[in-house]
């Protein structure tokens, strides 16, 4: 296996934490998205979509999309379990992962990508150029706040996002919350005690570290 990575971006970071939790050591090539490595001939031959993370299997198959990569790694190294033991827990983790991604990640991405100079002409990820749309900054900020409040609601009832233990749903939600705290000028935990407590707890895991 070989991983193509750019740890500062949220999707690769999710996979990086997952790999660290599993204690796996996978040969890794850095694809610096800020320097355009994703458009290099070498990487396009591996992943024509030009996205990271990408996991190249020994038979040459290229897996993209964080959930797919993590699912493959969970089957490769089942311990510690991060994607659920029984059907119900597995479904709840997938559900909270999708809620965090569709409500949280997409809203935060909207706010960041449509405002930052870094993403000029790249309002959306991937190989196609889309102009920034200033109206989306405000909508993205609002979506982000709705997500943080929903997450606060969930975490007042449940110690972790998908239930009573740390899973991939926490990895995803934490990476998004931390991305927002760094990328848009707000503190998601302000006035949200359960989110603050959970966020602090996740940040202390050795797998998590600092986003660089």
């Amino acid at each position: 296996m070989k991983l193509y990575d750019f740890p500062v971006a949220p999707s690769p970071r999710k996979v990086g934490i997952f790999i660290a939790e599993k204690g796996l050591n996978i040969p890794t090539t850095l694809i610096n998205l800020r320097e355009g490595d994703q458009s290099s001939k070498m990487f396009r031959a591996v992943n024509p979509r030009g996205t990271v993370p990408a996991l190249e299997l020994d038979d040459g198959t290229c897996l993209t999309e964080s959930l797919a990569i993590c699912h493959y790694l969970e089957r490769f190294q089942p311990e510690p379990n991060l994607l659920g033991i029984d059907a119900k827990e597995q479904a709840l983790i997938l559900m909270w992962h999708d809620i965090a991604t569709l409500d949280g990640y997409l809203g935060i991405a909207e706010a960041i990508r449509n405002s930052s100079e870094l993403f000029k002409h790249r309002g959306l990820p991937g190989p196609v150029s889309y102009e920034q749309i200033p109206e989306l900054v405000e909508r993205g900020l609002r979506r982000s706040q709705v997500f943080f409040s929903d997450l606060e609601g969930r975490l007042t009832k449940s110690p972790y996002v998908a239930g009573n233990r740390f899973t991939y749903a926490d990895i995803a939600a934490y990476v998004y919350v931390d991305w927002a705290a760094r990328g848009i000028d707000i503190d998601p935990t302000e006035g949200r005690d359960a989110l603050a407590r959970w966020s602090e707890q996740i940040s202390l895991r050795p797998s998590v570290g600092e986003a660089t």
Copy 2:
């Protein structure tokens, strides 16, 4: 188990086709999104997010998000397999499902929800009101065309979306393509022979039927 459904919308339609492929018969309550049933006290008690599909388990747990529901049903009724046999096939199905959803569904939704009178003040799904943003119509149409072309590229190399057989990745991609054909005034299969061939083939499956 009990399903809350509104078959005309794309996410419930995916789950409906999945259930029909499995030959399952699940008691179903219609939540008419056009008449605001999602805001009823009864349904909010089941699913506070107000989204369909939602699957209520016998212990009262409410599962939302199509992939989570389908994963649960796959474990409940493993045959015919639709989410993959081994780790690699499972990962490829998850990967193509996410690509179809992030590239296809989100683009098509952008074009439809920001133009149609049906979605006035509801530019995004869910309980929060977001105004339509006219600029997103054009961006959504462009994203949709990029998705159809990428899908055409995939289907010239592979008989089905995730590989050599019909899986959940085909259900998702087909539902999105068909939604675009009905909701925005374009023919996704025009000039795309592999997509046309595949689309025709999927449409003939007894599980698929007509979106109403």
